[in-house]
């Protein structure tokens, strides 16, 4: 019975391994978005401008959510197959959340790293004292936006899938293939 509770994790990890090319696509998107916004924020001298900071935070979250939702769309057919083979909605939703969360976190970490390196490079090119913020501030901001984006994206993905799971399995398999 203990193993039964591991089923969603098994499905998520299996899926994560086997659909690696899709995951890479999403990670690349997340990395680009995160890096872009980190650089942009830095150039705008972020913390001294709270409106810009909040705006960047929202935009970064939307970007991450959109990337994760895209991943959800692609897994709709797999959900149909899982259901046809006897998986419950709960198992599918949990495995999807785990998959999206792993994808989001990994993508964000790489994105933040690239963002920090890019920021450091830009600051070297500009005159001393141009920035009012320090690297730890950037890291904090980037992490906050990523965590928010990952949570919103994963929850939205699960919600969309939950709604779609009400469709008859036969329709999912015919329409999504």
């Amino acid at each position: 019975m203990a193993f039964r509770n591991m089923t969603p994790i098994w499905l998520a990890v299996k899926d994560f391994q086997t659909t690696w090319f899709r995951v890479k696509l999403v990670i690349a998107t997340i990395v680009a978005i995160t890096a872009d916004f980190t650089i942009l924020f830095t150039v705008m001298n972020g913390w001294s401008n709270p409106i810009a900071a909040v705006l960047m935070l929202i935009l970064a979250s939307i970007g991450l959510s959109a990337a994760l939702l895209h991943l959800t769309k692609r897994t709709f057919y797999e959900m149909g197959v899982f259901k046809a083979l006897g998986a419950s909605n709960g198992t599918i939703a949990t495995s999807l959340f785990i998959k999206l969360f792993i994808t989001g976190v990994v993508g964000s970490m790489i994105g933040v790293l690239i963002g920090l390196v890019s920021t450091a490079c830009i600051s070297l090119l500009l005159p001393a004292g141009s920035f009012a913020i320090t690297p730890p501030d950037i890291l904090l901001f980037a992490m906050a936006s990523c965590i928010l984006g990952v949570l919103v994206g994963a929850a939205a993905g699960v919600f969309v899938m939950w709604k779609k799971s009400k469709m008859p399995v036969s329709e999912i398999l015919v329409n999504v293939r």
Partner: protein
Amino acid sequence: MSDDFALRVEHVKKTYNGYAQKINIFSDITFQLKSGAFVAVVGPTGCGKTTLINLIAGLDRPESGNIFIDGVNITKLPDNKVAELRGRKIGIVFQVHNLLPNMSVYENVELPLSIQGVNGKERKSRVKEALELANVSSYAQRKLTTLSVGERQMVALARAMVTHPDIILMDEPTEYLDPFTTDMVLSFIKSSNILRGKTVLVTTHRSKVTKAAERVIYLKKKLP
């Protein structure tokens, strides 16, 4: 809750929503299958053969009527219960396989057992058994995308058998196959039915399959 019949379909009605009007697939279909029966369903394209398989497997819901699997009325069960029962009691071979292309043959066959939470050791031995039964062991580690249609069909048969289901539903399993692979599929069906006592319901256009079946159900296409 056992039953003399492995499967009972009682007064089932099914319609689909068309663009202008409802399309009536079945208005009242009734039949029973005894445990260990091998029955073929034939009829012209569009008469509802796939719909019938979907309804019996609980992949779709009828408008009215009842469907009993081993005495359990699946039309009255919630989705999750139907899925659980389907996973345990029914093996399905779809017309288009519905295998996951990014997984290997082994992983595809292993999937139903993982969903059921079967432990690793048991899972391994059952997958090995199913692969050998369908004669696909030699390419167990290959990706689905590298296989021919016939090879994929044999993998789909292995996946349907891996959970040791009581009932096997097959939707035109020989549709896109050459005569040699058709014979392989047919011998697989017969051995599952005779040697392993599985109840088999297969939809088909092939006379070879209908001749092998002990009973044939004819579906007529309803005129609009």
